[in-house]
């Protein structure tokens, strides 16, 4: 029988390293050379099917530009199951920034979070400033997944999300059954659903006796 799981994935990394482009490629298989800074999407979702017919639905949170002036809210990391920390292989400073974000994740996020370090803009490898050896060595030291991608050509993009899906503990309590999360309509968790219609005033609720 096939199983469905849902996870929250957060994107991190310096401005203009291609975080949104990476997601746009993964979710819609599109690329836009002159993409403006992220506007208008609370989060996107995309599903990955693994070889055993298990499906993993990612709820992908973009920074909405709040990373620019040290203004990402703690809410952003809250309950994140996985993070993709992106740097630009043509900008060595962006790897430094990625290290800062990874330290921040290790401090703020759930200790079981799966982190992938991702060197983007592989199509511009002629202008490479960050070597594969350097990035891989750092990723190994910190116990992170690592890969290089090109949001422009699509190279490596689906692979990194699939690899994350495979690494996520599909039996752990952090994994929510699809449909039980915030995106899936009425919450099946302990909480209350604000979108529920109010009962008629004056009629005592059934559990109010």
């Amino acid at each position: 029988m096939s199983k469905q799981f849902q996870f929250k994935l957060v994107l991190l990394g310096e401005s203009a390293v291609g975080k949104s482009s990476l997601v746009l490629r993964f979710v819609k298989d599109q690329f836009d050379d002159y993409r403006e800074s992220t506007i208008g999407a609370a989060f996107l979702t995309q599903t990955v099917t693994l070889s055993d017919q298990t499906t993993v639905k990612f709820e992908i949170w973009d920074t909405a530009g709040q990373e620019r002036y040290k203004s990402l809210a703690p809410m952003y990391y809250r309950n994140a199951n996985c993070a993709v920390v992106v740097y630009d292989i043509t900008q060595s400073a962006s790897l430094e920034k990625a290290r800062t974000w990874i330290r921040e994740l290790q401090r703020q996020a759930d200790p079981s979070i799966v982190i992938a370090l991702c060197g983007n803009k592989l199509d511009l490898s002629a202008r490479r400033q960050v070597t594969q050896e350097e990035a891989k060595k750092y990723a190994d030291e910190e116990g992170l997944m690592w890969t290089e991608t090109s949001a422009k050509t699509g190279e490596g993009v689906t692979e990194i999300f699939t690899a994350i899906a495979q690494k996520l503990p599909l039996t752990a309590p952090g994994a929510t059954r699809a449909g039980a999360g915030r995106t899936g309509g009425p919450s099946a968790r302990a909480g209350v659903d604000l979108n529920k219609q109010s009962t008629t005033p004056g009629q005592p609720d059934a559990c109010n006796c």
Partner: protein, 447 residues
Amino acid sequence: MDEEYDVVVLGTGLTECILSGLLSVEGKKVLHMDRNDYYGGDSASLNLTQLYRKFRPNQTPPTELGRDRDYAVDLVPKFIIASGELTKILVHTDVTRYLEFKQIAGSFVYRDGKISKVPSTEMEAVRSPLMGLFEKRRAKKFFEFLQSWRDEDPSTHQGINLDRDSMKTVYEKFGLEPGTQDFIGHAMALYLDDDYITKPARPTYDRIILYTSSMARYGKSPYIYPLYGLGELPQSFARLSAIYGGTYMLDKPIEAIVTDDDGKFVGVTSAGETVKAKQVIGDPSYFGAGQEGGKVRVLEEGKVVRAICFLNHPIPGTEDSDSCQIIIPQNQVNRRNDIYIAMVSHTHNVCAKDIYVAIVSTIVETSTPELEIAPGLSLLGPIYDKFVDITPLYTPTSSGEADNIFITRSYDATSHFETVVEDVQDVWKRVTGKDLVLKKREVEVQG
């Protein structure tokens, strides 16, 4: 910072964040700054490090309190009324997708030295230990009257005109005792003092119906509460703003509000740089609150005392509720203003396991505010630790329409967010010239 903005917003309290979220959705170019390195301003929820930095800068939190990151201690004790105005904004803006809510487990009222559940229906009123046998019958008739009231059907009015007759007249018609009036007016209509009694009954009726319909919505209490603390609310609206292009800068000291020769707003100076905008919105602390000199833009209209208490146990007499509100009506303790207790705990992800955080608050009436909350503190049982804060409440001196400087109000002593939403609606109208109309946003989540 070299661009020009439509609106600069100062302070990331809930009021300011709702406004910048709504303005961004309208297409305004918003720059939102805060002097602190965290979101929330005066309505923030703090971790232990931040809490100690604020109240006890020379101490570090004791290790037995547990992990810093497990804490989100509210500075302002408020709950969300389930059927209230904030809920409508949360739903209409869809920020509910960033938040999870839990019910507050119980609503209690103090009477004659004891605390009891607030009855919310005639059924509950009949069983409540708050009233004697005959009083119960009278209260039952009163609740039946309220719940069967239809504006268009005079036969339901029993000779009462809600818009003309005072609440006193209504109470007298049903012969309700002063103690019963106390819990109806204070624990259900949520008035802080007794001024409402001599005024027309309509607003009181509306507030009681809001209470009972909120109670009926989820069952245990009329209140809901966001997991991880109230500080999640401003963060969710800040994200809404950012998604619609709003720019966020934390940790930005604001040195000056720059005006032209006519006193009209020009820009805001931070770290030596001035950023220009057409309008500025901000909380009172950015406009001279509590400071000497400069132009007076805000007035102090009273003070609130709040004691944040850490407990190792639930509050006695609340059936071990993991969260609750307790109201001590003013008449019960010979005061002019009520004392409120708001308690949340581990189940709301705001503190370590087996810790309970209760905030006791009231409007200051004397020169010894801490003594004024003593009746509230004494209901808590042994208190592990206590942080007392006396906060002035500020209100702007002008509407802002003349100088494009729009100032919000401090968070008042009420137990909920209805007055915060009133302030949002008021500032919105002053800033945009239009009434705030909530439109349902397009849902962008894909299947």
